[in-house]
């Protein structure tokens, strides 16, 4: 068993535990490389099926290629696709691109709040109709009690302190001081009502592992990660106004792997192109309140 085999096996085990033990399960799909690897692992775990809905939080500022790629795969792979959005904030233009608030407050509105409401069912859920290819209002607003998320511990300090099964209370808050023990492949899967759990099957994967796996499995990923001839590509994907491409001429996963191992990115943090991390409190403050 090589390292990728070990990582894959543990992630599949966690996905199957979640599916077996958590009643209303969903998976966040940000369309980025990590959550796409997660989706692929789900297809492996369930032998080609994905037996829970995929939730995408659309801030409306995503790069257009991301949305096209999402819908193409959702139709091709027969996914139950749910999209949620903080429409009130968008209508009131309470966003950073509209110039009214700071970046991290914008994340809190368009991501954390939208996510919280979509998970609880208080916000509108839109579901992809596989016959028409368009999104319709979903009449199912049962709260999701478990959410599978593709965060990795090498991304950022507070993520390095996470659990595979990480409980969140009624207000979506993360109590970092008293996290449950996890050992011998046993996880916290019992919860009082009103709370939910975040499940993190990719916690032990590094950015390099992700690309090695994409390469090995030949997983389709959005073209924004690759240089299209202009000497630029995205290393980490988010909203267009807050995510900057990096200078790189890698055109495919194999070239990205070489670049990560020995090239210019060998010693530079992956999220260095993500502006919201640099503000007051950074990602830890955002994550305590429900950010991924």
């Amino acid at each position: 068993m090589d390292q990728l085999d070990q990582l894959e096996s543990r992630s599949i085990y966690i996905l199957r535990e979640a599916y077996s033990q958590i009643e209303n399960l969903s998976m966040l799909w940000s369309i980025g490389k990590d959550s796409t690897v997660l989706l692929w692992l789900a297809r492996k775990a369930f032998f080609g099926h994905v037996p829970f809905p995929l939730v995408h939080i659309d801030t409306s500022f995503k790069i257009p290629e991301m949305i096209a790629y999402r819908d193409k795969l959702a139709l091709e792979w027969g996914l139950t696709m749910i999209v949620g959005q903080n429409k009130a904030a968008l209508r009131a233009k309470l966003t950073f691109p509209d110039g009214k608030i700071e970046r991290s407050q914008c994340c809190a509105n368009l991501k954390s709040k939208a996510l919280k409401d979509t998970l609880s069912g208080e916000g509108e859920r839109h579901r992809l109709n596989h016959q028409t290819g368009s999104y319709e209002l979903d009449d199912n607003n049962t709260p999701y009690t478990g959410v599978i998320v593709g965060v990795r511990s090498d991304e950022e300090g507070s993520r390095s302190k996470e659990r595979y099964f990480s409980p969140r209370d009624k207000n979506n808050t993360w109590d970092i001081g008293s996290q449950p023990p996890e050992f011998w492949s046993q996880y916290k899967t019992d919860f009082p009502s009103g709370t939910h759990v975040r499940i993190h099957p990719l916690l032990d994967w590094t950015e390099l592992n992700i690309w090695e796996y994409i390469h090995r499995e030949n997983i389709p990923t959005v073209s924004l990660y690759y240089d299209q001839g202009k000497g630029r590509r995205y290393r980490s994907l988010g909203c267009a106004p807050c995510t900057k491409p990096v200078c790189s001429s890698s055109r495919n996963p194999a070239e990205i792997i070489t670049e990560l191992k020995s090239g210019q990115f060998a010693n530079i943090a992956e999220r260095s192109g993500r502006a919201q991390d640099k503000e007051m409190g950074g990602l830890e403050a955002l994550r305590k309140e429900g950010y991924m």
Binding site: D5, I12, R43, A45, F47, G78, G157, R163, Y187
Partner: protein
Amino acid sequence: MATEHMNIVFVGHVDHGKSTLVGRLLAEAGALPEGKLEKLQRYCERNAKPFEYAFLLDALSDEQSQGITIDIARCFFKTDKRKYLILDAPGHIEFLKNLVTGAANAEAAFLVIDAHEGIQENSRRHAYMLSLLNVKQVIILINKIDLIDYSEAQFNQVKHEFADYLSQIGIEPIAYIPVSGREGDNITELSNRSSWYQGNTVLAALDNFKKQDTDEKLPFRMHLQDVYKFTNGGDNRRIFAGQVSSGTLSIGDKIVVYPSGKKSTIKTIESFNSLPQKAVTAGYSTGFTLHEQIYAKRGDVIVIEKETPPKTASTIKVSLFWLGIKPLSLNKTYYLKLGTSKTKVVVEKILNVLDTSSLAMSETAREIRTNQAAECILSLFMPITYDDLQTNPTMGRFVIVDEYDIAGGGIIQGHIDDDKTKLQAQLYQRNTHWVTGNISLEEREQALKQKSQLILITGDGPSEQRKMVAAQLERQLFSQNKFAYYIGIGNVKHALESANEQTNIADDVSFKRFSEVLNILLDTGLIIIATVANMTPVNLAELEMITSHLNVVTFWLGRPRQEIKDASFIEIDASATADILVKRIFSHIEHSITV
């Protein structure tokens, strides 16, 4: 390029410098992202804090303001030899559960002791936990040698004192290394300030840890995680899924399901996006299909017939550690989880309780408190399948769940035969001789458009009420096109007893016969409504063993009983009308009988 991978944990008493050492190691070995060190140094300057390497690990704002590690940090690191995941565990007693989380996932450990302060409570406690968690490779780092002026004599004093303690708990450390995290001595290069030490540096010692052997040569074991029957896109595979704990499974192998004793043969090994497989080995998450369509459920253990069989028991002697805030007490019901198997458990007897730091032992304790270890006898509601820890570690260790939380863990030392083990042995024989067709329960359920279910109606109220509720419920299900059948224990009792045994047939025999009949009925895909007076927990355990189905839900009509909160045992106030009782029962089962 290194492809080998290893998890390492740093443990030790609070403030003895674990995070500083890890931070230093990462910095000296060039494992930090560009600019991270400089950024942190500038931050410290601005906030008038002395810079500490520990801040590289203690990422949480509370950790930096209090200057301690609260939770385990994972960091990635590589040498020419292999890749590492380094787990930095907290040393504070309050966070012992975080230490367990780190240490249980490690193949080797560095235990850090402050040379100046000497051995402290958690130096000993953490060493004890390493031995209990079966972390076999341990190196002791005697840190802050700058504070003892690089004195070899003082280093040796701490070393010998700790060696004494370690020998009592069966740990033989690979090495003792004098280090200073703050000054950087002996981390990646030998220091001339401690020239009397010529052993390995921390970095060299790290690469010298041995990779654990894989478990491919042990007998095959796999805890069943689930049975999948996804019908989307015309898929008709019935896949038994799980992660292989040990051994190798191949197409054509004859397998036995433990503890039930049901047998079948491996037809295919299933996977997605890979070439067809003929065999699968330890460590892989996999799935297989079977020739004979036997019933097996989550928690069962798959074993190859011709290999060494595992053990099955319901009274076990264990060695455990307790992390819960509330003490582990006698006569309270908890859950025990071993692999994917799960059963209710009661502590029958506490043999002794150990202070994990002083090793002081008490044989009169009535409960086990936070951070204590103990040997006890546990009584399990349902028998579980296990292996001796020596022969197969992952099959011999368990956790205990108190309400919603994992509150302790332990290892099985042996078992005592009891009534349940005898019954399980009989059932094993029954199932060995059981002849089955090739229609699986899932196929029947799909044809009937319902999930097979046993609805047990019991309690201490009048039998007329139970009968009325059962009959009404049967009618309601039937009118909704469900195939439901009502049967009382009396029917079986009278049907099966001959005239001359009528007077002396014991209640427990009747109950056993009734359970056997329910077992057959449940295999047909029907929804069975059964009535019995005054079911005890012992009855219920026996019934669940005999039917070995997961789909049993019990409704207790009458005075409330002291029972663990449980979705499969529901108490209903019997003073309501039959209509209301039926409605309540239906609301509970509505979900579980739908395909």
